[in-house]
Symmetry: C2
Subunit: 234 residues, 2 copies
């Protein structure tokens, strides 16, 4: 039992200021991630090939905005304004969206599934080290199952119709993860409270190097699974 | 009592095909109106002067998409696909949004309050002649009270900061109603089932010319009230 308590010690040190700052960072990232994903998906909805696709893309955008709202409300329980919590992450997300701006609507779908899926896996890994309420919120916000069938069906159909598009989208999926890792690295170098959630502090245990290695392996494997599900080479 | 039943006779003739077509038209208008308002507001959210304004504009967009979804679900109870119901109204709404495309973000706010408010009043007048379930849905979808305080405060502040903007926005508000009436007239000339809801049929009583005159007076008065609340000359 000691090991289990030891591996999720956040609840035992709720007053820990560094822990609190790390959680607020995680929530700020989720909030700004949701808000910018909303804007990207809503913009791209206008370029969907059919009105039915526009509706589906718009509904994916709306889910992202609902996530933003849920995180905003949760941040209030920490007495933190969502605008303040998001501020440190503007540059990383704005740069990501600028550098990974879909040129065609199918790239939007791949971004929503592969790019957001990779980010979601990473957030879930971090959330293993936060309090139960925050963890429940993170899990809820990151559930995107309803969209998966639609996206997989649409991308596979597009590749069946025009095989060349598969190569383009595979390249796109790999690029997304590259851009995401670049921004994640920037954030990690600037926000020690956030990395402290993962690596642990004097009071809280976290991941050692071997655990971080296994985490990266999981992230890469899940990414390959998603690419495979879309029919894309990873 | 006879008069009251006589004025809302829709329930007594649910099988009336013309009535049904009129209701489906009304719902198609509401659905496509919500979907296009979502797209316009989401697009314009990106141009908001502050992140807080962007969030508010995005949340107004999301309310419009929720309205679209509510109408879509209600249309299923009539065995009608929302995509089919919206189709006859693409041109009118697309033309409206093209001709009344906000150049600055404040015009977006005026559109959302004055333009959509005018349309909402009109839909409510029509909804007086439909069945109770549809009427309840229309009332629910057209409730925009939560946004009003924000929009009124933001527009009045902008005029206080820069009085010249008041003249520009007043012109914009008048133009919106002009464009809306142009499109309404086009729709009325093409969709007899819809106008039949208002004018009545052999089986159902509707508005006579004097009632239509009073309705137009109400619409104009409410429009003037909204302009006045924003501090704009109507």
């Amino acid at each position: 039992m000691d090991e289990i308590v030891g591996s999720i010690p956040a609840e035992t040190h709720p007053e820990d200021a560094a822990y609190r700052a790390g959680v607020v960072d995680l929530l700020g990232i989720l909030a700004y991630g949701g808000l910018t994903a909303f804007q990207r998906l809503a913009d791209d909805a206008a370029t969907a090939p059919t009105l039915a696709d526009q509706v589906m893309t718009s509904s994916m955008a709306v889910v992202q905005f609902r996530n933003f709202e849920a995180v905003r409300d949760h941040l209030w329980t920490f007495d933190v304004d969502v605008l303040d919590a998001m501020e440190p992450f503007h540059r990383a997300f704005d740069d990501y969206h600028e550098r990974a701006q879909p040129k065609i609507w199918l790239e939007t779908l791949v971004s929503a599934y592969v790019g957001d899926g990779f980010a979601a896996d990473f957030y879930r890994e971090i959330a293993a080290y936060v309090d139960a309420n925050t963890r429940a919120l993170v899990d809820e916000v990151l559930t995107t199952d309803r969209q998966t069938d639609y996206i997989v069906g649409r991308v596979r159909q597009a590749i069946a119709d025009e095989p060349a598009v598969g190569g383009r989208l595979a390249l796109w999926g790999r690029r997304l993860v590259g851009e995401a890792l670049t921004q994640a690295q920037r954030v990690a170098s600037e926000r020690s409270a956030l990395t402290g959630l993962i690596s642990g502090t004097v009071n809280r245990s976290g991941m050692d190097l071997a655990m971080i290695g296994r985490m990266l392996t999981r992230l890469v494997e899940n990414h390959a699974l998603r690419m495979d599900r879309l029919g894309l080479a990873s």
